[in-house]
Amino acid sequence: MDLPADDARDVEGLRRGDPRAFDAVFDRYQPRLWSFLVRLTGRTEVAEELLQETFVRLAAHGRRLRPDTNLRAWLFTVARNLWRSHQRWAWLDGRRLAELASRTWGGAAEGPDQVAAASETGRAVERALQAMPDGNREVALLVLVEHLDPQEAAAVLGLSPEAVRQRLARARQAIAREIAR
């Protein structure tokens, strides 16, 4: 898989500890990671916390990145793993119940407050995304929203390409059903 030229250049900069490389990566990926995390978590305060931690990890590990690191996949992997970790802790400390309650978005107007007003189709897609199982939502967000190719998504999620294809198909079906309602 060819890596974007900007990413390859910035990986070199990060390995040297160049703060300009960090800034370039931050500017390029912060909006995408923010969007991904808001839709993945359904809660802006959690998304904000995980976004910060993702870039803290980048800052801490930048010098140890391999020269051939796929930066985009690396960042989405960290963000997604932080969310999984957060879910486990939230379960343990009892906050899970509150999160589940807050994520039960019944109507079109009850989506995350940070998601801008959308078309009816867009709202149906948001509803479908929030209602589907976490595993399918992760795949849908990475491939259909963030435009990672399915192979990259498989690497991010630690799945086989076939598993990604199946989850993508299920996500697509769920979205189509919600739009048709």
Partner: protein, 70 residues
Amino acid sequence: MSPDPTDPLPLAPVAPLDPARVEAIRSHARSMSARAPLPPAVRLETAASAVFAVWMLVWAVSAVIVPVHG
């Protein structure tokens, strides 16, 4: 014709994070990278201290066990 299974979804963009928060996050994360790795001499010293600590622990344990069982 059926759509490409990887066609992007017709979603509205997520409202961006408050610019002040964005800069706060950037600044906080950058401060982490400002913690430069330890120079080689310090790393060596740290490793030597760790080895010494393990040796002391082994010595202390053996000093207790040997008199008891010996």
